[in-house]
Symmetry: C2
Subunit: 270 residues, 2 copies
Amino acid sequence: MSAIRVNGRPSDVVPADDRGLLYGDGLFETVAFHHGRARLWALHMDRLMRGCAALDLPLPDSDRLLDDGRAVAEGRARCAVRITWTRGRGGRAYVPPDRPLPTSIVMQRPLPDDLDMQREAGIDLITVRTELPSGGPLGGLKHLNRLPQVLIGAQCRAAGVPEALVVDRDGCLVEALTGNLVIERDGRLIAPGPHPAAVDGVGLAWLRAAAGDALEQAGFRTDQLQPDDAIWVLNSVAGIRPVARLDGAARPTGRTLRAWQRRWAEDVEN
Amino acid sequence: MSAIRVNGRPSDVVPADDRGLLYGDGLFETVAFHHGRARLWALHMDRLMRGCAALDLPLPDSDRLLDDGRAVAEGRARCAVRITWTRGRGGRAYVPPDRPLPTSIVMQRPLPDDLDMQREAGIDLITVRTELPSGGPLGGLKHLNRLPQVLIGAQCRAAGVPEALVVDRDGCLVEALTGNLVIERDGRLIAPGPHPAAVDGVGLAWLRAAAGDALEQAGFRTDQLQPDDAIWVLNSVAGIRPVARLDGAARPTGRTLRAWQRRWAEDVEN
């Protein structure tokens, strides 16, 4: 079974003049598949459809994407499936074509080898201050323009850590490299933001629905972070991971973390 | 003769998991070829090499890119050649691989049908206010993260104009959609900026070298634009085009424009 499907057929190549490659003109979602079932699928499709509306892209047929996802995930108990949806070919340089024929690329992606360990023991983060696009029409979207994240990823690699706490020029918490941040303070949950440069996370959307009023959303600067605050990194594929160390300093685990991890396992991964 | 070469061989496809497509992890240059000769080649390669340094990408062999460019331009008196240089495959999601094997994609691109007319009669522009990434390590680079330009291009298409005068939130002139802006006032030339969100243009680099002290560089807001100011759009493929109308209002041609267009024709296109 091919691990990649392009426009619904097994293939491992795309046209060299696809606008996804030429300009990053498209969107993506990375979806957890467990035992052949897509997790948090409705939330992923909701974000993808909102992205299509913002970029004026034709909407995909989500059933066909799901079929492709099941096909590339076949035989794997757990894996991630990345769905890329581009504007396809054509147009005049940056100017998009009148009637785009999008390209769908659905591929299997491995989960981190040590994911269970990361959830249990926590992960190390470094703080990375960055100039991210300050929102506008692209704010919140999971689009293909990810060079800022690639540069942050290179800093993480150099520091030997898997994730970063990304802050803007003013010291406001934006997000983690691959997920959203949650601060746990005295049992209360605070989602920093919403920051205009952060991706509108599917894992966070789940937590918002599950936690209700127990999850507060508020702008949050690094200088507001207290030594007793626990930090979580939350994304739809890796779930909830505690931060063990931030910039080398140990962080507490958070007294509600394990209960939320169990809830995640029951709701999302069961 | 194939119009596309991938990694030095005729091909019209790239791997579906190339990081250029997954994240926009790469750079590009669009080079004018006239009668088989690449124009302003050294300036294009200089910008590409600076981009590689900024993104920690291996440097391309410029002679091989030039060979590819000649091959795809063969048989065309005038055309453009787009060179894309990506980080290739691999890495762990955003985190780039330790030893990337870049992908080169060299493809022929047509010139606008009405380019001579645009140079003679001028082009119409609309003002587009936009949220562009505010510089940082990506400032000035010709990288593959071009969704802001795609959205501006869609606005141009809707307005029936080929180009835009792009301004930031504060009303400062950034650039045109596909080139840099030059203001001609009483025979003086002013290049707005350098704006941290603007591409470091090859056409402008040529003008800077050719004009010397006659080209001033200065921050420029739209409210500083006077009715008698002429506006040029300058890029390395289309050369110098006067703005005929901005937001529907006629603009003067500029008393030194024709002389500079002749100089361009002699220096660059001869």
